[in-house]
Amino acid sequence: MSQDLLYAIAIFTLAILVGVEVISKVPATLHTPLMSGANSIHGIVLVGAMLIASTADSPLSYTLAFVATVFGAANVVGGYVVTDRMLQMFRKKPAPAKAGSDGAPGAAANG
């Protein structure tokens, strides 16, 4: 194996450990946004699609690169926007009034 590949494998292994360490602490409340956020991160494959587009030399290659770019871009843009929408909804309202009037809490301004 080449030196480059060995280094790449080392990076891969360390990144997995970082991922495990970072994710283990996330509370269940945030599992859906977390998954959606992680989902947008693998949209990084868009960079891969751009790189293969730059070296494409046949109609087949161009087609593959084009479809990969469309897919990757949809993954990235959609993923981040939907995660942001989700997280925007998590809010801490002032502690609910124990008795009597709680007004019209939280009904306003969403979205």
């Binding site: 194996m1 790449a8 990076i11 891969f12 990144a15 997995i16 970082v18 991922g19 495990v20 994710i23 509370p27 269940a28 409340t29 945030l30 599992h31 859906t32 946004p33 977390l34 998954m35 956020g37 992680a38 989902n39 991160i41 693998h42 949209g43 990084i44 494959v45 868009l46 891969g48 699609a49 751009m50 293969i52 587009a53 730059s54 290659s61 161009y62 593959l64 690169a65 479809v67 990969a68 770019t69 897919f71 990757g72 949809a74 993954n75 843009v77 959609g78 993923g79 981040y80 926007v81 939907v82 995660t83 942001d84 929408r85 989700m86 997280l87 998590f90 609910p96 009037s101 939280g106």
Partner: protein, 480 residues
């Protein structure tokens, strides 16, 4: 600037992007910082993508006009579609959208690997190590692509949510796995020079591997039931991350490797957390067909007992004069889209001085933590949402537990050995002083067994759809 310098700068920009992903994920630890975290991650992505484009344009030889058009137009089309869907999707339909994004991500990873393979196949550049990453990337990417599409279709209701068992389906799945692995070995041996493969032949074998991977994704997810979807989506997400990392190895790009590994690891952990919360192994879930009638044991010592029905008015009186109420929302609430109704009821009760909390089982909803998102959408403040470990000791002090569309996760039979749900962590609803269950019928839950909670003398059943039941409760509480 020399080429070397340009690449150095680009490389550092990629590293900054990767660091932003790690820090962004880290900030998802708390609801207060999660939104910033996601934005930080998005900034990292923008840096990585923009730098790549700048690099491709400025480096020696530049970018051909066609390639530039492909990148820009492809980005605008894909990004536009993604943006539109993300903006308009309803929060209840969000799991299928995330699954759809996951599918295209996996598809993109597979395409990158396929393209690279076609370029190097039969040339001296084809080495053993690239072949391994290419073929593994292709297989995982293809499986994720179709698997996530099927999962998305099931969640959307386009495909029946219940386990679909094709006769001999498992054999087919097994056979496809063998074809994929065999093809993989042939290609790897071919690239090592052990067996002679020319370009066209290896492309043919690759085509076979692609087809096997695509069909495998379908046969793997079809037999898995709707309630197991949180685990499956999480697993497929992890697969896509791995496929992206493999593509990173193939094209020698560090940011793909790091980002892919992060997602692969996080998806893997979430999958395990989900599976643990259902007390089932990941393999057991993938094997599918759980509780479809076969092999379901009779519940021993279910205590017989009769079911007591309660009217909305009686239930409303109990709720209105309680001090502590714990709401237990489940799959049924998500399906009926009753999250706004439950919030309305809770606020009504709070205005009467009742203390209301929500008990969220880890697998409630249709994807990990989905219930939290639905309730957050309905403006329920997150400090009221309690996780299982936190809320369980509180059931003893609670006057009324209101169970809405949750079944197996409340079944006390889980504490005994010898039932299909044995050992599954449950919410201790039966320890509440009084229990009200809103449910459409006495139908069984996903595990296919009777819930002993329903025959508990403390339990009153309010037979209704989650939304209608809550509406009648709200009206009745107002009238109290």
């Amino acid at each position: 600037m020399s080429q070397e310098w340009i690449y150095t700068i680009v490389f550092f920009a990629w590293l900054i992007g990767a660091a932003a992903f790690v820090l962004g994920l880290h900030r998802m630890n708390s609801p207060a910082t999660a939104r910033d975290g996601n934005r930080l991650s998005a900034v990292g992505m923008t840096i990585a993508v923009a730098t790549t484009l700048a690099y491709l344009v400025t480096r020696e030889g530049g970018l051909s006009g066609t390639a530039l058009v492909i990148i820009v137009v492809g980005f605008l089309i894909g990004g536009g579609i993604g943006l539109q869907m993300a903006r308009t999707v309803k929060m209840t339909a969000m799991p299928q959208l995330v699954s759809l994004f996951n599918a295209v991500g996996g598809g993109a990873a597979a395409l990158v690997a396929i393209d690279d393979f076609l370029k190097v196949a039969g040339t001296p550049e084809e080495t053993l190590s690239t072949a391994i990453f290419v073929v593994v990337g292709v297989v995982i990417g293809c499986v994720t692509f179709t698997g996530s599409l099927i999962a998305s279709g099931k969640l959307q209701g386009l495909i029946a949510g219940k386990p679909i068992l094709i006769p001999g389906g498992r054999l087919v799945t097994f056979g496809l796995a063998i074809v994929a692995v065999a093809g993989l070995l042939v290609l790897i041996l071919g690239s090592a020079g052990t067996i002679g493969l020319d370009g066209p032949t290896s492309s043919l074998v690759l085509g076979l591997v692609i087809a096997a991977g695509l069909v495998f994704g379908v046969t793997m997810v079809l037999p898995i039931g709707g309630a197991d979807m949180p685990v499956v989506i999480s697993l497929l997400n992890s697969f896509t991350g791995t496929a992206a990392a493999m593509a990173g190895f193939v094209i020698g790009n560090p940011v793909l490797i790091i980002a892919g590994a992060l997602v692969g690891a996080s998806g893997g952990i979430l999958t395990k957390l989900m599976a643990d919360a259902m007390n089932r192994s990941i393999l057991n879930i993938i094997a599918g067909g759980f509780g479809g009638g076969e092999g379901t044991m009779a519940v021993v010592g279910a205590g017989g007992g009769t079911v007591r029905e309660v009217s909305a008015d009686d239930a409303a009186i109990q709720l209105a004069y309680a001090q502590h109420v714990i709401v237990v929302p489940g799959y049924g609430l998500a399906v009926a889209q009753a999250q706004h109704a439950v919030r309305e009821l809770a606020e009504l009760l709070e205005s009467r001085g009742v203390d209301v909390k929500y008990a969220i089982h880890p697998v409630a909803g249709r994807m990990p933590g989905h219930m939290n998102v639905l309730l957050a959408e309905a403006n329920v403040p997150y400090p009221q949402l309690k996780e299982m470990e936190e809320i369980n000791p509180e059931f003893e002090r609670c006057d009324v537990a209101l169970v809405i569309g949750a079944n197996d996760v409340t079944n006390p039979a889980a504490r005994r050995a010898g039932t299909p749900v044995s050992g599954m962590p449950i919410l201790d609803v039966d320890r509440a002083k009084s229990i009200i269950v809103i449910k459409r019928s006495m139908g069984r839950g996903y595990a296919g067994i009777d819930n002993e909670l329903y025959t508990d003398p403390k339990t009153g059943m309010l037979f209704a759809d989650a939304k209608d039941g809550l509406a009648s409760l709200i009206a009745a509480v107002k009238a109290v």
